[in-house]
């Protein structure tokens, strides 16, 4: 199913292309004009915003096409047709799109009951909600910082190429452009913007070399986007490499800090080893099936009565490589050290983009090529998930360093996500669970790392990331402490945060799939998790031991609350904390967004 080489096909890859162009321009700027770091930061953030914008546009167009396709045969869906004429207000679209998403979802479930093979146009649908929902986090930034406020309205979906029908397609054999890819591309780009913004405040002094940081970041983002787009093992491999090789540079960027070199070396060596395994696995895979595309693999696997030993070995080797990248037990030991040594913004990037994109690619692979159906593979994956959940929780229990703690929490969370991956084969719910869980994980990680990041800077020999450093943060920086608490609550899965919804869906999914061992692990894991997250939260609110409440400490410098006093990073934190709350209280918005982001099934 090769698409004809068309000019429009490039448009499908626009996020990737824009970042590619941005990398080139940034290179020129750095090498020829020797621009300073601040400009580099602004430039990369701007280019990321443009990429985000195009992602949203593309998502909206895919959505539009899906609506058109589904609206024609069904009468009740015609009611929601006015969405095409309504071009000037986002809010109008939002409601309608939601309506449509709902209608369509109902239709989808109906369809799937009747016939298992869902037809192509049904699979994709609205991502416009992502534009609004996730973009809510950005409106404030857009208003204040970037010149793209009017851009969304100016380039309303559908106004550019009216003749062309936008629908999810394959762009060569390497990439698939569908709602699923676009949703996670959007997520990746948002995290990258946050990372760049965090980093620029973290480097207190400006240095000519710091421009390279953003260059590396953009390379990494490009790798991540390639990963979520990939529908071919080669693009998967290239994506992983492009993602992790610049990360080596990012992790060791501030090599004057403690543990930095150690972290870099550890990451570099283990990453290389993992790559070796992955490549070997791909080779075995190819030897066994003669196919490298996901869909071809799926065809091969469905026709073969019994998977050959070669294939199983290949899958196991690939699991080793992926296990390293996602730091699942027993390949998890590097993660806490790397987190501790890396700059906080990079830790955030590593724990979210670095793993999320690999996970998304693997999820796509597992859905299309039903490898997990094999009993032994399923057993191995289940063991990995089970032990990751328990290991991460046990080691996080007594951890005094918050970055290490979050690293262990990250091991646990990807263990949880692997549970969803095991169930990805036979459950419709799995994709929704993965989406919700990933988004909740990303939002809460932004909150936690953001707080640490605001506390520390590149000049110090280490980041202020131990429990004692953040003690009494609430009395110094109430806003930051509250958002951090919100992120921790969400990670702990407390009701009314989005983390709770994620945990609930996960339990629902694993009960539905009857994975009782993993259900037990999830229950135990959340109980453990509660312990160390709540300990951290309390720590934020305790008064520092040195400060006694004399009259002097009561009279603090008079600070009128003013919006202008918040800097960019604090705004990001507040927005993500709000998103955590909002999605926790009214999860339907997010659910309909995530459930619209489906795979393109060949």
């Amino acid at each position: 199913m090769m698409a004809s080489s068309n000019f429009f096909d490039l448009y499908y890859l626009s996020p990737m292309l824009i970042i590619g162009v941005a990398i080139l321009i940034l290179l020129v700027l750095l090498l020829v004009f020797h621009v300073d770091a601040h400009l580099c930061a602004s430039f990369s953030i701007c280019s990321l915003f443009i990429a985000l914008l195009f992602t949203l546009l593309l998502g909206a167009q895919l959505n539009r096409s899906a609506i058109k396709k589904t609206a024609l045969p069904e009468k009740h869906l015609l009611l929601s047709a006015p969405v095409t004429t309504e071009k000037n207000s986002i809010h109008g679209n939002k409601v309608d799109a939601k309506q449509i998403a709902l209608n369509e979802k109902n239709r989808l479930t109906d369809k799937e009951k009747n016939q298992n093979s869902a037809s192509q146009p049904l699979i994709t649908s609205s991502i416009i909600l992502s534009a609004i929902n996730v973009g809510k986090g950005l409106t404030s930034q857009e208003n204040s910082k970037t010149p793209f406020t009017g851009e969304i309205r100016y380039k309303q979906p559908g106004s550019i190429h009216k003749k062309h029908v936008w629908q999810p397609t394959y762009i060569t054999a390497l990439f698939t452009s569908d709602a699923y890819a676009l949703l996670y591309t959007g997520l990746i780009i948002i995290i990258s913007i946050v990372t760049a913004s965090f980093a620029s405040s973290w480097f207190k002094t400006h240095n000519i070399n710091q421009g390279l940081f953003y260059l590396l970041l953009l390379f990494s983002v490009l790798g991540g986007i390639i990963l979520v787009y990939s529908s071919h093992l080669i693009s998967l491999f290239i994506g992983i490499e492009l993602l992790s090789v610049p990360l080596i540079g990012l992790i060791g960027f501030q090599y004057t800090q403690n543990n930095s070199i150690e972290a870099t070396i550890k990451y570099m060596i283990l990453s290389a080893v993992a790559t070796g395994f992955l490549l070997l696995g791909i080779a075995f895979y190819y030897a066994a099936t003669g196919e490298l595309t996901f869909s071809g693999l799926s065809f091969q696997l469905s026709t073969q009565p019994e998977p050959s030993a070669l294939l199983l070995t290949g899958v196991c080797l690939m699991l080793v490589g992926i296990g390293f990248k996602l730091s699942l037990v027993p390949f998890q030991l590097w993660l806490p050290d790397v987190f501790q040594g890396a700059p906080t913004a990079v830790s955030l990037f590593l724990s979210t983009v670095g793993k999320l994109s690999v996970f998304c690619a693997i999820a796509r692979l597992f859905l299309l090529a039903p490898i997990v159906n094999n009993d032994s593979i399923q057993f191995i994956v289940a063991i990995m998930a089970f032990t990751s959940i328990l290991f991460g929780n046990c080691f996080a229990l007594m951890q005094e360093n918050i970055k290490r703690l979050v690293a262990y929490a990250s091991i646990t969370n990807y263990g949880y996500l692997f549970v969803a991956l095991i169930a990805v084969q036979y459950q419709v719910l799995a994709l929704e669970t993965i989406g919700i869980y990933l988004i909740s994980y990303v939002l809460s990680n932004i909150c936690v790392f953001g707080a640490i990041n605001l506390e520390s800077s590149a000049i110090q020999t280490r980041d202020r990331d131990s429990v004692m450093d953040l003690r009494g943060l609430f009395w110094r920086k109430p806003v930051v402490a509250t958002t951090m608490a919100m992120g921790l609550l969400s990670l702990a899965g407390i009701p009314l945060t989005i983390g709770f919804m994620g945990r609930f869906l996960l339990l629902l999914l694993s009960v539905t799939a009857q994975l009782w061992w993993l259900v037990a692990a999830i229950v135990i894991g959340s109980v453990f998790g509660l312990y160390f997250y709540l300990r951290l939260i309390i720590n934020l609110y305790l008064r520092p031991a040195t400060k006694e409440n004399s009259l002097k400490s009561i009279i603090e410098p008079c600070q009128r609350f003013h919006v202008r006093m918040l800097n960019m990073n604090e705004i990001i934190l507040v927005v993500s904390a709000f998103a955590i709350l909002l999605c926790g209280i009214y999860p339907q918005l997010l659910l309909s967004l995530v459930s619209s982001a489906r795979y393109l099934i060949p």
């Binding site: 339990l507 629902l508 999830i522 509660l530 309390i538």
Partner: protein, 543 residues
């Protein structure tokens, strides 16, 4: 309307928090200006005083007003409910149903009926009591404090009115979080943060563990319903009719029952209860005893028995035995307690075990009795905790052995305490007397032996309590202490009013329980139907 009932406390809490923040900020500005302008020391002093006063009263007033509005609302509903009982339309209820997560068929479905209104009333009464009690305690950062109190009330009302099982679970989990913060941040003053954290985290962990087991049951129930009907729903009214095989019914019931048993708490799982009480201040103790434990009784009556009647009746003898053991264990432990809060916590455990055993001996009259009894127990335990709070404030210790004789020197306090202690046994005229009579009359008819054992256990608990409490007031001679004036300080009018309020409410329920019986009758009748229509599952045939 029900939405207002639930969200008003939360709103009030946020308001009181914001108000205290704003006031402190404004006064800080004024103070700083004062510093800069070099105003006199007295003016500065006056400003600081003003700030503290404002800070203190603003939060309390907002909270108080919220509580009054809530009480008026619920009073109005209660009036409606009572009025409807005497008319022809018996099944009074108020319902609110808002679509919430249509993706999984989850609705914001609330129902206030005869059963839940009584528990809501009790919760609101105790919560307002707590707010009034906390007024005299000079609490640091009290805006946040009242925010957490109101949050817990919000969750409590939500829990008692939710008829969507997901929603029920949500509120079930939401209830423990504010209490956790209350214990850690404003808990016992003479212990450090780490100890308070250890006490409080157990509450949350036990709650979470048992809650998640309940969630698994809920999800499985919804899943079974989904396989039958092809539609996700968590609605109580739908799920109650789900056809389940008897084995599965057992497993699902254990999920629910475990959550309820842990929260009651019965003996193997009472660790969190005791520890939380030890580390908490009087206000959070009242919240734990008054609000949290009642949810378990409510949950059994509302969910465990109606959804799984067959499994419940099969398991009933075992549950009675568990209740008995738990009761005797707790009663015997009371003899050895020297920490006054621990003592009261054990008394509460014993009483709740008694109640739990009685639930599984039940019929319609028993359930009526259980509601009255649980109201009585909550109020009396609240009274005991209030007394303990007053005593701790006097002696600066919780060790009973260090207490000296108060009788004859301090008026009212010994008498009031004695009243509460005797209420435990159920002296005539109190709510507990009515409750006990209703429970025992029925139980004795059907299960004479276990009922007799339960009564002996109750007696044992009261005797133990009497033995421990009596020396505080009448036993030991007064010894010489430096802070003589604090110990023998007369009881303030406010404290007196609070205690009298509790005593009056106990007496009112005891003397005229008909209003409560009328309110709960229609719902209890339904629960009893489930109980009657159920049959014992015999495993011999299937196995």
């Amino acid at each position: 309307m029900l939405l207002i009932l639930i969200f008003l406390p939360l709103l009030g809490g946020v308001l009181s928090w914001l108000a205290s923040k704003l006031i402190s900020r404004r006064f800080d500005c004024l103070l700083q200006l004062g510093n800069d302008d070099a105003t006199t020391e007295t003016q500065l002093h006056w400003l600081t005083k003003c700030k503290l006063l404002w800070l203190h009263s603003s939060a309390v007033w907002i909270t108080g007003i919220t509580m009054v509005i809530e009480l008026i609302l619920i009073g109005y509903y209660w009036y409606q409910c009572l009025a409807s009982f005497h008319s022809t339309h018996k099944n009074w209820s108020v319902e609110t149903n808002v679509e919430w997560i249509p993706f999984l068929g989850i609705e914001f479905h609330l129902l206030l009926d005869g059963l839940s209104i009584l528990f809501v009333l009790l919760a609101l009464f105790l919560a307002s009591f707590t707010v009034f009690y906390s007024y005299k305690e000079k609490i640091a950062n009290n805006g946040l404090f009242y925010f957490f109190i109101l949050w817990s009330i919000s969750a409590m009302i939500g829990l008692l009115t939710a008829v969507d099982l997901f929603l029920f679970f949500l509120f079930w989990e939401m209830l423990t979080i504010p209490i956790y913060f209350l214990i850690v941040l404003w808990g016992r003053r003479d212990s450090n943060a780490q100890l308070r954290f250890n006490g409080a985290i157990r509450l949350v962990i036990f709650g979470q563990l048992s809650g998640l087991l309940m969630l698994i049951s809920i999800v499985s129930l919804a899943l079974i319903n989904f396989t039958h009907s092809g539609k996700w729903t968590f609605d109580y009214a739908v799920l109650i009719n789900t056809a389940i095989s008897s084995y599965v019914e057992f497993f699902l019931m254990f999920g629910f029952l475990f959550a309820f048993i842990v929260r009651l708490p019965l003996v193997p799982f009472h660790g969190w209860f005791i520890n939380a009480h030890i580390e908490s201040s009087t206000t959070s103790s009242i919240l734990i005893s008054g609000l949290v434990t009642n949810t378990a009784i409510y949950g059994i009556l509302r969910f465990a028995i109606p959804i799984f009647p067959n499994a419940s009746i099969t398991i009933a003898p075992i549950m009675v035995i568990i209740g008995l053991c738990s009761m005797y264990y707790a009663a015997l432990l009371i003899f050895g307690q020297s920490d006054i809060k621990k003592l009261i916590a054990y008394v509460h455990t014993a009483l709740m075990s008694f109640l739990f055993a009685m639930v599984y001996m039940g019929n319609s009259l028993t359930y009526q009795g259980i509601i009255i009894q649980s109201m009585g127990i909550s109020i009396l335990i609240t009274g005991l905790f209030t007394v303990s709070g007053l005593l701790i404030a006097r002696y600066q210790t919780r060790n009973i052995n260090k207490f000296v004789k108060l009788g004859g020197v301090v008026n009212y306090l010994p008498a009031f305490t004695m009243f509460f202690v005797l209420t435990t046994v159920g002296i005539p005229g109190t709510a507990n007397f009515v409750g006990n009579i209703m429970l025992v009359i029925n139980g004795f008819e059907q299960y004479p032996l276990s009922c007799a054992l339960l009564l002996i256990g109750l007696l044992l608990a009261s005797i133990a309590m009497l033995i421990r409490m009596q020396p505080i007031f009448y036993g030991l001679p007064a010894c010489k202490r430096a802070n003589f004036s604090i110990i023998y300080k007369p009881l303030s009018i406010q404290d007196r009013c609070l205690l009298i309020m509790l005593i009056i409410s106990l007496l009112v329920i005891g003397i005229y329980p008909q209003i409560i019986l009328d309110t709960s009758y229609p719902v209890i009748e339904k629960v009893t139907d489930f109980w009657k229509n159920s049959q014992v599952i015999s495993f011999k045939e299937t196995a």
